[in-house]
Amino acid sequence: MSIAQIIAPVTTDSVEEALLEFLTERVKADVEADQDLFASGLVSSMFAMQLVVHLEESYDIAIVGQELKLDHFRTVQAMTALVLRLRRASGVTTDA
């Protein structure tokens, strides 16, 4: 399993930017970093699972157990915070 998607340093800005791009392409609509994706009806709760898979694969993290709360996927900002926190916790070097 490759993590070839990671070409840029993993920082708040880079993760947010990549996620906004991913979401915009997926849902065919402009997405804001602080927008509630579920409340706005932009994505279904089923899509949350797709987000989990995408984040794990893109950032070499495992999102398991208690991390699987909908709130962690509610906004691009929340997902970014989750990614950075899990990378720090698992000792993945933040090349910022």
């Binding site: 399993m1 997926r26 849902v27 089923m46 794990e56 694969e57 699987l68 909908l70």
Partner: protein
């Protein structure tokens, strides 16, 4: 998703041969008796065959989705009741792998690959696809937790040592692992299911069931739709492959019959209306195989599309299994119209596959929503 090892999966050739030997020509008798031999299930469980995708680091076979799928299809072609047991065990293992903490993963995945059998409870009397109506609930009580509620149509519950129960917890949800023998658990077999008759379906009551807090996977507090979608995605993959197996069994039985049975001086297969049935069966077999392989590739490459690919594979395969079974019974006619016959079982079993793990209509809604947001 991550395999946690560099283990390279290979086709499960020996496992398939063993399953072929164990099932032999017993599927009909098991179907009519509505029971699978428990010692066979324990033996297969202890070999990790019932949940072949559990990584080797947890004691499993570490099979890829594709190789596990091919094994599932093979079992599906022999006996959908046994395949249903594999689906349940696999869902339980997958949910534990995703939602359990480190200790729970090692403990329970170890159990599920050493002979313990698992069943997973989703549906309730008032809550099938409507999750919001779910009422089963786990509550904290000091150092332990208490589970109350009921689950319907739990596949494999009659044979299970462990019950994985989807339930509410405060404002969120959780999976709770419950020993089937725990005080307050009452398992009532469904008397005569339409299909997969030997799969041990049961309704379960949980009345003030006291459990250690460590029975709640990952401590709970997860999103209900996420728990549901994650667990069901594995189930959909398994059912999709199992239905591909049903289609293969129907293709084989109908083709063999049409080759040897003669009417009006020529084999049935040379009669054009019968020949068209064989063509349809062949097309179904190819289609189901391809759609399942595609879904397994999505699964293995951790594509975000894996969720939708699993729904699509399940919808296509279950529909084709139901049509193929109907077609095969038509081709075999009186030869297949005997309860327990492979095509008669396929006819009943495939209908159930159009209902569980997201009915045809629920899968259509999901696929339509996907079209609306992405196309």
């Amino acid at each position: 998703m991550h395999n946690h090892s560099s283990f390279i999966s290979e086709p499960l050739v020996n496992e398939q041969a063993l399953l072929g030997e164990l099932v032999g020509d017993h599927a009909e008798a098991w179907d009519l008796a509505m029971e699978l031999p428990a010692d066979m299930l324990q033996k297969l469980g202890a070999m990790g065959i019932l949940c072949a995708e559990v990584p080797a680091s947890f004691g499993g076979l570490g099979a890829s989705s594709q190789h596990s799928g091919e094994l599932t299809a093979y079992v599906g072609s022999l006996d959908s009741s046994l395949r249903s047991i594999m689906t349940s065990q696999g869902i339980a293992a997958w949910a534990i792998q995703r939602f359990g903490d480190r200790d729970q993963r090692h403990r329970y995945l170890g159990d599920l690959t050493s002979g313990d059998l698992a069943a997973v409870g989703f549906s309730e009397p008032g809550a099938g696809s409507d999750l919001a109506a779910m009422q089963t609930r786990v509550k904290r009580s000091g150092d332990s937790v208490v589970l109350d509620g009921q689950k319907m149509w739990v596949t494999g519950a009659r044979y299970a040592d462990l019950l994985l129960v989807l339930c509410l917890q405060d404002d969120d949800a959780a999976f709770v692992v419950v020993p089937a023998s725990a005080p307050g658990v009452c398992i009532e077999p469904v008397p005569a299911p339409l299909g997969c008759r030997a799969a041990g379906h049961a309704n379960i009551h949980f009345d003030n069931v006291q459990l250690p807090a460590a029975s709640v996977l990952g401590g709970g507090g997860q999103s209900l739709p996420m728990l549901f979608t994650t667990a069901l995605s594995y189930g959909r993959m398994s059912i999709a492959w199992g239905c591909t197996g049903i289609v293969r069994a129907c293709l084989e039985a109908a083709t063999e019959h049409a080759r040897v049975r003669e009417q009006s001086g020529k084999p049935l297969g040379q009669h054009q209306l019968v020949a068209s049935h064989l063509a349809d069966l062949l097309i179904s077999e190819e289609l189901c195989t391809l759609v399942c392989e595609h879904a397994s590739q999505s699964w293995q490459s951790s594509s975000p599309d894996m969720v939708i690919a699993a729904v699509l594979a399940k919808q296509v395969s279950a529909g084709h299994a139901a049509r193929s079974a109907s077609t095969a019974v038509q081709v075999l006619a009186s030869a297949g119209a005997r309860d327990g016959h492979v095509v008669a079982r396929a006819y009943r079993d495939s209908k159930v596959m159009e209902i569980i793990e997201g009915s045809n209509e629920i899968c259509q809604l999901i696929l339509a929503q996907h079209a609306l947001t992405t196309v």
